[in-house]
Symmetry: C2
Subunit: 598 residues, 2 copies
């Protein structure tokens, strides 16, 4: 049975039926969350995107035929109900829903669509396996928690747009079918039909186009747009993801940060009621690494890294001396109150340290009586141990963890142990939002595979003026006018001031090991464009998915994307990617060519 | 030379320097439109996105060094200027620009970027060949008219969003990497790396996803999003184009039309100050064809088609009798005041008619003295001629044109002649905006190639209830709940109410000649989804590019797209599509396979 709604008009959403309507007629429409048959009376919880509303069908009010239809109703049927809003009997009030003191006594019912029993219940905090939920995403998306996530996402996108519009930014669309990016991640390619053997690439970001827009005088650009990277997926990655992207002309770092702090403040206040105190703290890259072992530090808790290299220098303990001698360091963190961790737990931390790249983890547990439990103290002089403990502000009951290695390994190991411990100690409150700017990133990093420097951000990132003289002599020392915005240990956005001067750009390419010819081959039209008058400019791009994920307290961006893909970049619902007809490939001048393993 | 702007801060955009600032210091930045050297004084027209501002450099104010720099300035240099706002001498006032009574006397100058001489002048209404303009799109985009177009587009997009937000629509993103569409235009394909031999398709529209969102209870959805069709291009087509897409639940045709009339009214009022009187006129498809020979009629002028079949029936003139006898018709239009067209011009119309598919064009010119000039009157009785002229309301000085053929040819020929004449007679005022809804489209059309009916809109379009009984017996007679919104002869949007009842959907598939198995193969996950409770729903999608094009009075959507593609779907600026490395194709398990012509 599926009746038409001819002549009917919805007058209210379910949860918008309020007390002021008691005694009035309403027409509501939605899905049946639950139906109960209580001796001649049928109760239905009707659901729409606003919430639930109880409907009562009794034979007297709705008549015999209508009542028969009501008895036929099952979960997820779509129905339209006309009826009178009434106050519920006090004993049947449901305090858990906003309409819990009301019900609608139905005088009319149409079954607009029947439904088979869904493969899982439509309910909040579903415990159903994600795989099944994603196969039936259209049912999963009926869950109120996912609906709230989608509504929040809508709100964040639109209040960002409104803020940027008010600030004079122009929403300008850049192409999706564009050119393969040199120096980037792996591109998604799109074969051209007209130009056989040629390919478009889907954009990894609108980077080049937004810089061209600055060069064209648009002054302030933004776009909320899809970007594509064909990389292996992790929990917070998707083949296609959404950026809030912006670029501004005639600006320096502080201008970009200024407008974005105001945007973040508005975003978090208006979307989830969280105050972001301004200015947001800034850490240089070097400070972030030294203090938190990470360029995306989580500032919701302390447990900072402490460099004890000076204290242990020439202490005679081989592990420490070796690391320092090789140009590395010895650093530690103080896991406050973890001095009573059982050995098994400390060993687990040590194993984690090895996974993070360390050769091992040294530790000192401070007993409540002030004595130490440790496997390393015996290698150290007593005053060295005391100095280490003092430097880490060790108190009875604390657990001190150490890593001695090159700095990269030390940062990574302690940075991650710090996070693991914070999770174990439940220091990561999802309702606390700690922002930090990380600035002054290194301009270049050495790529061992390609045996040359590569841009850490991208090849158009502006070096800091005071480091320009190092570009030829000590490129690894040059800091960039690049900045990330980090929230609770997640990089939610990043950007830089761009090079607008041709001489600096040429030096940059030289540092990357490109000849002028190679540079033109790779970045031709952008370099050509830069001949015709370039304003100083810079920008920033946010990962919208991640921002909304953090706002929702979700652990996966799949919870804030309507139709996400899974780890193998497929969609369990549509079964994309799929096979196509031979004719389609012929038109595109391509052939499938799967390399068989022999 | 490229100086930094360290320590400088722009205080105003160029055209925002107003009279109230006379006597104040300002700092402005922008591009040099023009530089004139008038005996020891350098004048510069400085340009930013707001407009022009005159800068005066005199040695006394700026000093010797600064003046030397000023002399060095050329067109398109990017400069920053500090100076005092002054009133111009009356004889140098430029009434053509808003800042024409002012100038800034520079006390500071920095050359932020030099510029080579661009390949064409940056000026409004450029006469430069489009090919060159698109190669240097970043310079073309500096032209004030293109900048206005982009700003208008920004405004239209954002006021549409704000309107839809206010109406409770949710902005929900749908995937770009999805599945190849059966029954659609040609897809752009994206090879999958993880699933060798499998392909994503870029969406031709979010149609299926938006219907799923309705099924998921989102109630009102919208998105301004890119869509992709790999078709041969025309002036108003691009490989990627932008839709304002929406879908609503629990609605019928009038609801969708209602919300969209309000949107159109707001859009045109707020963006370009044009009042759209509501309700917008509605024409059924049949009326549109009968009166204008087109399903996208231009209502800016009359010249309607008139059916004279009844009048000429059995008139003895073979051409007329033959057409009517074969089930066709004889129809005419009255080109008012064109009775004095020279024979050459009338013959040109006849040739055009043949191009539009007619075997020929009959005509009667009415001389000022009431006599006729015509090649056909001699075949007709005098009273038949008089009746024809009367039916077309022919007056002295008019030119009557006729076509006799099957209806399809008659509509197409006269519909197009009507437009050609209107253009010649300059009846197509770009500042007049005439909207019309075309409704009640045929549900199906017969496809001769596939020897079956295909959906005119798409296979989920709802038939009109009163025609449902014809679906099995006379499918070509069934009208659909489909509607287009037409502006000045351009379809700017279209949509339909969708089928939400399984039994009707099955009948629809049967009419399309699909077995149940075939239907599931093609539309599997959507049909599965429809088992679980579907609300009545419908929607509409606008072509944003076309709307903005019409608002701008442009003839091409390339004028309202920042980085458009040309006819062969390539981008002259980026040279996309391009070749890629062999390794990239290997990773995607594909091989280029160009069929050589032998």
């Amino acid at each position: 049975m599926s009746e038409s709604m001819a002549g009917l008009k919805r007058t209210r959403y379910c949860a918008n039926v309020g007390e002021e309507l008691i005694g009035s007629q309403v027409t509501v429409m939605g899905w049946v969350q639950k139906r109960r048959d209580l001796g001649g009376v049928v109760f239905v919880d009707l659901r729409d995107r606003t919430g639930l509303l109880q409907i009562v069908f009794d034979m007297e009010t709705i008549g015999a035929e209508g009542f028969k239809k009501a008895e036929h109703i099952r979960s997820e049927f779509v129905i339209a109900v006309e009826g009178m809003v009434e106050k519920r009997d006090p004993e049947t009030v449901n305090p858990n829903i906003p309409t819990g003191i009301l019900e609608v006594r139905a005088s009319g019912l149409r079954i607009l669509s029947e439904a088979e029993t869904p493969p899982f219940m439509i309910e909040e905090n579903s415990k159903v396996k994600e795989e099944l939920r994603l196969k039936y995403r259209y049912l999963d998306l009926r869950r109120p928690d996912l609906q709230r996530n989608m509504m929040l996402r809508h709100q964040v996108a639109n209040l960002s747009r409104n803020f940027l519009n008010d600030q004079g930014f122009l929403d300008i669309e850049t192409p999706m079918l564009t050119k393969s990016t040199p120096e980037g991640a792996r591109d998604y390619l799109v074969p051209s039909r007209v130009h056989g053997g040629h390919f478009y690439a889907l954009p990894q970001s609108p980077q080049i186009f937004k810089q061209l827009l600055m060069l064209s005088g648009y002054d302030k650009y933004y776009q909320i747009t899809k970007c594509f990277r064909d990389e292996d997926l992790r929990a917070d990655r998707q083949p296609e993801f959404t950026q809030i992207d912006m670029e501004l002309s005639f600006v320096d770092v502080d201008d970009v940060i200024g407008v974005n702090e105001a945007l973040l403040q508005k975003m978090f206040k208006d979307a989830i009621g969280v105050e972001v105190p301004l200015p947001i703290e800034r850490l240089t890259y070097q400070d972030a690494m030294d203090r938190f072992g990470s360029d995306k530090p989580d500032l919701r808790f302390g447990m900072e890294l402490v460099d004890v290299s000076d204290v242990v220098r020439d202490c005679g303990f081989k592990v420490f001396d070796g690391a320092i001698g090789a140009g590395g360091s010895v650093r530690g963190i103080n896991a406050k109150g973890c001095g009573d961790f059982p050995r098994r737990q400390i060993d687990a931390l040590g194993e984690a340290a090895v996974e993070y790249g360390a050769k091992g983890m040294a530790w000192i547990a401070i007993n409540e009586d002030g004595t130490y439990k440790s496997a390393i103290t015996k290698f150290l002089r007593e005053e060295t141990v005391e100095a280490i403990v003092a430097k880490l502000e060790g108190k009875p009951g604390d657990l001190l963890l150490f890593c001695a290695d090159n700095n990269e390994v030390v940062y990574n190991t302690l940075g991650n142990l710090r996070l693991d411990l914070a999770e174990k100690l439940e220091l990561l409150d999802k309702n606390t939002f700690k922002f930090v700017w990380v600035t002054d990133f290194p301009l270049l990093e050495y790529n061992k595979e390609h045996k040359r420097y590569v841009a850490k951000h991208h090849p158009f990132t502006m070096p800091m003026e005071e480091d320009l003289h190092l570009l030829e002599t000590a490129p690894e020392m040059v800091r960039a006018k690049a900045y990330d915005i980090v929230l609770n240990g997640n990089e939610i956005g990043g950007g830089s001031i761009r090079i607008h001067q041709r001489d600096i750009q040429e030096k940059m390419f030289a540092a990357l090991g490109f000849s002028k010819e190679e540079a033109y081959e790779r970045f031709g039209f952008l370099l050509n464009a830069f001949k015709y008058g370039v304003p100083p400019h810079g920008g920033l791009a946010y990962g919208l998915d991640r921002i909304v994920m953090l706002m929702c307290g979700s652990d996966s961006i799949r919870e804030v994307i309507a139709f996400p893909k899974i780890k193998d970049a497929s969609c369990p619902m549509t079964e994309a990617p799929g096979t196509v007809e031979k004719k389609q490939l012929e038109e595109l001048s391509i052939k499938v060519d799967i390399l068989e393993l022999t």
